[in-house]
Amino acid sequence: MNHFGPTSTRFTRALGVATILGLGWLAVFGLLLSPDDVVQGSYARLLYIHVPSAWLAYLAFGVTGLASGAYLWPRTRSMQWDRIAGASAEVGVLFMALALVTGSLWGKVTWGTYWTWDSRLTTTAFLFVTYIGYLAVRDLGGSHEQRARRSAVLALLAVLEVPLVHFSVSWWRPLHQAETIERGGLKGLMLFSFFVGMIAFTLLYVWLVMHRQRLMMLNDMIDDSGLDRALAERRNEVAP
């Protein structure tokens, strides 16, 4: 793309419509149609948001890791990968915050506590902080290549960190609460709506990343297009 166009295409518009439909269905079902859970009552509705957010957050960080690897691999090196990695991490941090907040609210009403040192929760919290650091490093400045190389290396180090954190926390606190969904089991329309939610959130993720990534490209292009103007100005500086 060589022009400063909008960030949307026919594809992303279709994707956007599908996302809205999916989220609409999830809202209608989750808030109106679905019955109260036998044990948790209305609070179980939080899970329709919580589980897809958590899934998305992990998906997003996986994508960041893969895109960073693709950037560093000489044969596939392209700034496109860097922008995808950055966009995905931004969206991932957003959804991880959502997952942590909904998760701890749900924990409060079902377990009676906002937080428990279970390995899944703790790993998630560490991942959250790690990617906030990653985004801070992306903002450090310097050339686009510098930003890309530095942040790609950092993302791969984060990939190294996550299993180590997970192992250490799960050895430290081996007992954790069984997942309610796995235990109780969702049936019929509930299960269907649950999957609608997962799909809608995934579409939302793809839609957000595509737009964000294109916005980043336009930003980079503005930086670059300024160069010719700046060069002309620079050449016209006069000798004293």
Binding site: G142, S143, E145, L227, R234, R235, A239
Partner: protein, 214 residues
């Protein structure tokens, strides 16, 4: 033999600002070239680019036969850059510093001692912490480190600044003998009279461009 430096229409940027805006320069081996020009003209950036520290945004650049566009790290062991900072460890002595920087290229103890003697640091100052030295003495130490590194291309940014009369004479003599020994020297300086008599050629840098080559 290929020239020491060959730049063609080189553009280099810091952030979004083009510090070099199309610089073309050819420097033969054993030349002593003086860069002059107003503050902010791009002299320092030109030196940093030749040292492989600043990436080439557009144009072509070859230093000591190494193509900087493709690999700007390969040239680094062969050039010596003295920038505004001295690159010294304030807690170490003069001798420690020269020994350390010499050792990064595998210089022998004799070469290190010779470098310190050359800059008049061998006796009294050798065991003094760099942190206790005056600005001029630090500059001498940095120059001794550079000599110990046996560079093929010397890139010096305002090397005369802060040096006393004796130090300037020692510096000039050092640069001349380095050039005689086959090294190439590029000096950015405002000390026109002194550096002008030293240089084999003067190059004017203005607005990120080379105005008068030759």
């Amino acid at each position: 033999m290929e020239p020491a430096v060959e730049l063609v229409d080189v553009v280099a940027v810091l952030g979004a600002f083009p510090v070099l805006a199309g610089a073309t320069l050819r420097v033969e081996r054993s030349e002593i070239v003086l860069l002059r020009g107003p503050n902010g003209a791009g002299k320092t950036s030109l030196l940093r680019l030749c040292a492989g520290l600043l990436p080439v945004e557009r144009g072509t650049a070859t230093v000591l036969g190494v193509d900087l566009v493709h690999d700007r790290t390969a040239v680094r062991t062969r050039v010596g850059l003295l920038g505004h900072a001295n690159g010294l460890y304030a807690d170490l002595t003069v001798a420690d510093n020269v020994r350390f920087w010499g050792a990064t290229v595998g210089a022998s103890a004799e070469e290190v001692n010779a470098a310190m003697e050359r800059m008049g640091l061998a006796d009294r100052l050798a065991d003094v912490s760099v942190g206790r030295l005056s600005a001029g003495q630090r500059r001498r130490t940095a120059l001794a480190c550079l000599i110990a590194r046996r560079a093929e291309l010397w890139l010096l940014d305002e090397p005369h600044a802060g040096l006393d009369a004796a130090g300037r004479d020692e510096l000039d003599a050092t640069l001349r003998s380095a050039a005689v020994a086959g090294a190439t020297v590029i000096v950015a300086s405002h000390e026109l009279e002194r550096a002008g008599s030293l240089a084999t050629r003067v190059v004017q840098v203005v607005g990120g461009c080379i105005r008068e080559a030759r």
